[in-house]
């Protein structure tokens, strides 16, 4: 019972926030709604008993990505009339999104419902760390990820710096 209530509240908050992100005219308000969606997704991940990933979701999306988005909005001055312009091809986007939702929802409903594996929640952070940094585990992926982040950082600085040309 408590599960159902928590899930319905999280789901309603998620859908409401997602619709607000894509429909609110002011980009800054959309960024605030994106923060709300990130927090709700973290709650949903916690609900699925992946506590460490939920904390990471909060740190990465709310902390890093959210701040990045808000700072970019503040650095790019908007034209006030941008908030009043109509979306000319939003009917096409609406049709595409509805078609995709219909197809995916149909396949989800038609597929067999699974039950959670027993003991699925008994994963520990120690196991996670040991596998992440062992050479027989995910150490190579970890190194490639750090390389990717470094390259992205350098590229971001390169693109945004002032140029004379």
């Amino acid at each position: 019972m408590l599960n159902t209530i928590a899930f319905v509240v999280l789901g309603a908050a998620l859908i409401l926030g997602a619709f607000s992100v894509v429909t609110v005219r002011n980009v800054m308000h959309a960024a605030y709604w994106l923060l709300e969606v990130s927090v709700v997704v973290a709650g949903l991940i916690y609900f699925l008993s992946a506590e460490y990933v939920a904390i990471l979701q909060l740190l990465v999306y709310v902390g890093a990505v959210g701040m990045l988005v808000i700072f970019t909005i503040m650095l790019t001055r908007r034209d006030p009339r941008d908030d009043e312009r109509p979306d000319s091809y939003s009917y096409f986007a609406l049709a595409a999104a509805l078609l995709l939702f219909a197809a995916l929802a149909f396949s989800v409903v038609k597929s067999p419902t699974l039950v959670a594996r027993p003991g699925a929640a008994s994963t520990s952070l120690v196991d996670f760390g040991l596998q992440m940094f062992s050479t027989s585990g995910w150490a190579l992926g970890f190194e490639i990820a750090s390389l990717l982040l470094t390259v992205a950082l350098i590229a971001a600085v390169w693109w945004t710096k002032e140029r004379d040309d």
Partner: protein, 105 residues
């Protein structure tokens, strides 16, 4: 903490989030709005991965690793996208993608 969830309900929620994000990515005209919609689509994939890991993956921790690497890629993507937005703003003094039509035939 062990909570029981309905598999189809969570997947349907992720599908809904993905489709709303797709609508935003296609309909938004501000480059920052498009990037925010892409972030929501990536979060839908995160929910999917965690749910599938909880229900079907061979090892419970596999979905955690996939999710962490997805977050890394998504953070790099949004960082580069926002850097491009700022570069675009420097060049053409707008961050609305439909006003940048210099390369239009």
């Amino acid at each position: 903490m062990q909570l029981t969830v309905n598999f189809s309900a969570v997947i349907l929620l992720a599908v809904a989030l993905f489709c709303v994000g797709l609508y935003g990515a296609l309909a938004r005209k501000s480059a920052i709005g498009i990037l925010m919609s892409l972030e929501m689509m990536s979060m839908a994939v995160t929910i999917n991965l965690i749910t599938l890991g909880r229900f079907v993956s061979p090892h419970p921790l596999d979905s955690w690793f996939f999710t962490v690497f997805l977050m890394v890629i998504s953070a790099a993507e949004v960082g580069l996208g926002l850097a491009l937005t700022i570069a675009l703003y420097r060049r053409s003094h707008t961050s609305e993608v439909d006003e940048v039509d210099e390369l239009k035939g």
